[in-house]
């Protein structure tokens, strides 16, 4: 990798790269993203290599283990270019057939092709699959194209064009103007206008200035940032270098959560490559600008995703937030002006410079510009990462992209924004998703988590799950959050165990008011969202648990009652064998009896029964 010293040098290198590449060359892209990797991406890739060698295809066909393709429900995914034939659920055993039929004979392997669950229509090409059709990838665009360990791949796709333009053709003020005009808002959850934050920091006179990339991604079920760091690490770096130049920062840090070792490796490799190319270090592209990036690792605390707690963690102090002001942009890391932005925010910056602020502002809604990456998980058929323009409706995401609710069940709610978000019921399915609209219905955008729930979810149990998570992750510094979460959890447990009262419901709401007002940071303040939204939209479920001591979704174990229907029970004794406490008894071939006193409601009898004789109510 040469060290780039000028526009011409970079342009010429890129031109030669592209000229050397044959756009019609067959490429096999094995997805090695967060969803596919544990399902065997490496084994599938190894099988391809073996088959290539056997068939002498090594020189003709290019194999890449690339980033997340998005449709994780079909792991392991394989995309074959240039035809864009996409296969799903690929195993190493399928590979010889793919090589023989598709690569050599140009035929499609039918059983590996996407099939619509309702119409049973097959879709061979990526662009025909509804999940992909409805997206507008900007941040995810390169993930199924490039080898994340290859800087040449990144350059060939126009990488570092934005940096070159920013450093050599724009002034810092102009860059901030562009980001401002683009309407980009913080993608980590805060939604604060990025340009404004940069300007506040730029105005500070104190030196040195720092920029931080918040890669702590702590929301359960969220893996957007992970996919970007693992699949397109240079995009994050490029955005950071542009931002540092605009603000006047001399050092940047990427704070990666401890649980993302692969992301750390990919980022570090990208940093080393960028240094070699002269995009990091001294006198970048001969602009006179010096900047370097270092990776800092978290230690397993969700609260360290909060900007001031993150900064304290980086300083070697306990990861507890501080009250603001001062804001990090005024006095952050080591007391110096610091801009801290999320991975996805940084990854959007190069394209904003490349394509222009107007282009970006032309996408999305009035107050939420651009696209957002969502992690669509839960009770939908097609789970995975989607990137859509702001303003796309929940219905479009859940049904058009997500393929509707699995097993044809009924939609119940969608939780957006992670544990600090609210549950949105069916009446709002046509809500255009953006920062303000989500807030208006009692939820938040958060980092982009979208957990879809069907009627097998109990909303009291869902609230309890999130409150328990927040309780364990809360730093404990301030009283309303620490003691408040402890008490919310206690009351929810009482309700789930059939000991709840309506006074406790009112007490939770009263407690929420103080938590939202008086907590130091967002964790405590927005912990109220799961409670408030579920009580508001699913109050009857809470009341059923309290008044009737029933969980109609059949989830809250203490409230369930297992019975054996004497009409359908054949006395096969399958349940008797499973029961861990010997609660079922009776003669062979005669209906069995379930002793309620002994029953621990484990549900094993229900699962064992082949005759549907065990009922839960």
């Amino acid at each position: 990798m040469p060290r780039f010293e000028s526009t011409d040098h970079l342009r010429e290198y890129r031109r030669q790269l592209v000229a050397k590449r044959d756009p019609n060359q067959t490429q096999v892209m094995v997805c090695a993203g967060p969803g596919c990797l544990p399902m065997g991406s490496e084994e599938v890739a190894a099988a391809f290599r073996e088959e290539f060698e056997k068939n002498g295809l090594g020189a003709k066909v290019l194999l890449k283990e690339c980033g997340c393709h998005g449709l994780c429900a079909g792991a392991v995914r394989v995309l074959i270019r240039p035809q864009e034939i996409t296969y799903q659920h690929v195993t190493p055993e399928d590979v010889p057939e793919i090589v023989e039929k598709t690569l050599k004979e140009g035929q499609v392997v039918d059983r590996l092709v996407y099939e619509d669950l309702h119409s049973h229509e097959k879709a061979v090409h990526k662009g025909e699959i509804p999940f992909f059709k409805g997206q507008m990838p900007i941040v995810l665009r390169k993930l199924d194209v490039i080898d994340p360990t290859s800087m040449d791949d990144y350059l060939a796709m126009g990488g570092y064009r934005g940096l070159r333009q920013a450093l050599l053709e724009m002034k810092p003020d102009e860059i901030i103007d562009a980001v401002d005009k683009s309407g980009l808002r913080g993608r980590g959850g805060g939604g604060f206008p990025t340009g404004r934050k940069w300007r506040i920091c730029q105005d500070e006179l104190e030196e040195p200035k720092f920029i931080i990339c918040n890669a702590d991604e702590g929301d359960p079920g969220a893996f957007m940032d992970r996919a970007v760091m693992e699949g397109d690490p240079h995009a994050v770096l490029e955005g950071m270098i542009i931002g540092a130049f605009a603000i006047g920062a001399s050092k940047g840090y990427i704070y990666v959560r401890h649980e993302y070792p692969l992301a750390v490796r990919r980022l570090q490799l990208a940093i080393d490559q960028a240094r070699e190319a002269g995009f990091l270090g001294k006198n970048i592209l001969r602009s006179g600008f010096n900047f370097d990036i270092q990776i800092s690792r978290g230690a397993g605390a969700f609260v360290c995703g909060e900007e001031t707690a993150l900064i304290h963690s980086m300083e070697g102090n306990i990861g507890e937030p501080s009250p603001r002001p001062p804001y990090p942009a005024q006095a952050g890391l080591f007391g110096k002006p610091t801009v801290i932005n999320n991975v996805e925010t940084w990854a959007n910056v190069p394209e904003i410079i490349n394509m222009g602020a107007d282009w970006y502002a032309g996408i999305g809604t009035e107050n939420s510009k651009g696209t957002k990456v969502f992690s669509l998980v839960g009770a939908v058929n097609q789970t995975g990462l989607v990137e859509v323009p702001m303003g796309t409706t929940l219905r479009q995401i859940v049904y058009d992209l997500g393929g509707g609710i699995r097993q044809d069940r009924e939609f119940k709610a969608v939780q957006t924004g992670g544990p600090s978000g609210g549950c949105i019921p069916a009446q709002f399915l046509d809500l255009p998703v953006d920062y303000d609209s989500l807030q208006s219905v009692g939820s938040i955008m958060g980092s982009g988590g979208m957990i879809v729930m069907d009627t097998t979810s109990c909303m009291v149990d869902v609230a309890r799950y999130f409150i328990n998570f927040l309780y364990e992750e809360s730093c404990g510094k301030c009283t309303p959050c620490r003691e408040g979460l402890k008490n919310l959890l206690f009351i929810l447990d009482e309700i789930i165990h059939g000991r709840g009262t309506e006074e406790q419901l009112a007490l939770m709401e009263e407690l929420c008011d103080t938590m939202a007002a008086a907590s130091i940071c967002g964790l405590g303040k927005s912990a109220v969202n799961p409670i408030r939204s579920t009580i508001k939209y699913f109050r009857e479920e809470y009341l059923a648990h309290i008044r009737d001591k029933k969980c109609h979704a059949l989830v809250c174990r203490p409230l369930l009652k297992y019975t054996i229907d004497p009409e359908t029970c054949t006395g096969c004794l399958a349940c008797v064998r499973e029961c861990p406490v010997g609660a079922i008894s009776g003669k062979k071939k005669l209906p069995q009896e379930l002793d309620q006193e002994l029953c621990v409601k484990c549900g094993l009898c229900y699962e064992a029964c082949q005759f549907d004789a065990v009922h839960i109510e």
């Binding site: 605390a301 501080s322 007391g335 992750e473 510094k477 009283t479 979460l485």
Partner: protein, 252 residues
């Protein structure tokens, strides 16, 4: 600009006087001074639990909250770190503020029902009992952090700190073992509002945080001054011979 958040050092960075409103009254105060100090200087009382004028404030207890801004865009902030700024509209006892303080006290009363300081402050706010759950009725620590901040800023040895997160947060020595940094001065016990830090003194030995410290008697009057280890620590800091510190204050 680096923000200083303790009163004593705040003087360095205090700005010019600006005008702001507290409870409807227009007053003048130095910019950057904490709203808490500004309010108290002007006769407005704001309750606190974790505040001390000699220690940096970290906004832990939430008793000093005030409501700033004008309806409908108001914000609840802790006055101990919020800087005085021109044009601020502050309410020290609005309905939202008082309600917040009451709930915080109710939560603390449930946490530490036997802590007299909490009982008194709660009673002063009309809170006599709690609807919340008590885990350990003998618990006295309200996690205000005064001890930790004292050890770090005044004593300068950081022998104790906060450990853990919400489910099991507590003040502790590193790894819950004897701290070699501790000088046995007892400042933590002194500053604690609920007298939760135990120490014993028997037969010329003070035991605190699981460690025994031999007490040094005064060369003149024979009364115990402080742990010998603490005096040796001071001697190292000042560079004076340690014997200088073996005479108590009264006998100097």
């Amino acid at each position: 600009m680096v923000w200083k958040i303790s009163d004593e050092t705040a003087f360095d960075t205090l700005g010019d006087e600006v005008r702001l409103t507290i409870n409807g009254v227009t007053i003048r105060a130095p910019q950057n001074q904490s709203l808490l100090v500004t309010a108290r200087q002007n006769g407005f009382e704001i309750p606190t639990l974790c505040y001390h004028r000699d220690l940096p404030s970290e906004g832990q207890c939430r008793m000093c909250v005030v409501e700033i801004g004008e309806y409908p865009r108001t914000q609840i902030v802790n006055s101990c770190t919020f800087p005085t700024q021109a044009g601020l509209v502050v309410q020290t006892h609005s309905e939202k503020v008082v309600q917040s303080r009451r709930i915080v006290l109710e939560l603390l009363l449930a946490r530490t029902p036997k802590a007299k300081a909490i009982q008194d402050l709660a009673a002063a706010h009309g809170v006599y009992e709690s609807r919340f759950k008590t885990d350990d009725p003998e618990e006295l620590c309200i996690l205000c952090g005064l001890c930790v901040r004292t050890c770090r800023e005044v004593v300068g040895v950081s022998a104790i700190s906060m450990k853990g997160r919400t489910p099991d947060k507590q003040v502790a020595t590193p790894f819950m073992e004897q701290s070699s940094a501790c000088i046995g001065c007892g400042s933590c016990a002194f500053i604690c509002p609920t007298n939760v830090i135990p120490y014993t003194e028997k037969d010329g030995v003070r035991t605190i945080w699981g460690r025994d410290f031999e007490l040094q008697p005064c060369n003149v009057c024979g009364n115990y001054i402080a742990p010998k280890y603490q005096l040796e620590h001071w001697a190292k800091l000042t560079g004076d011979p340690v014997e200088t510190f073996f005479v108590c204050r009264d006998c100097r």
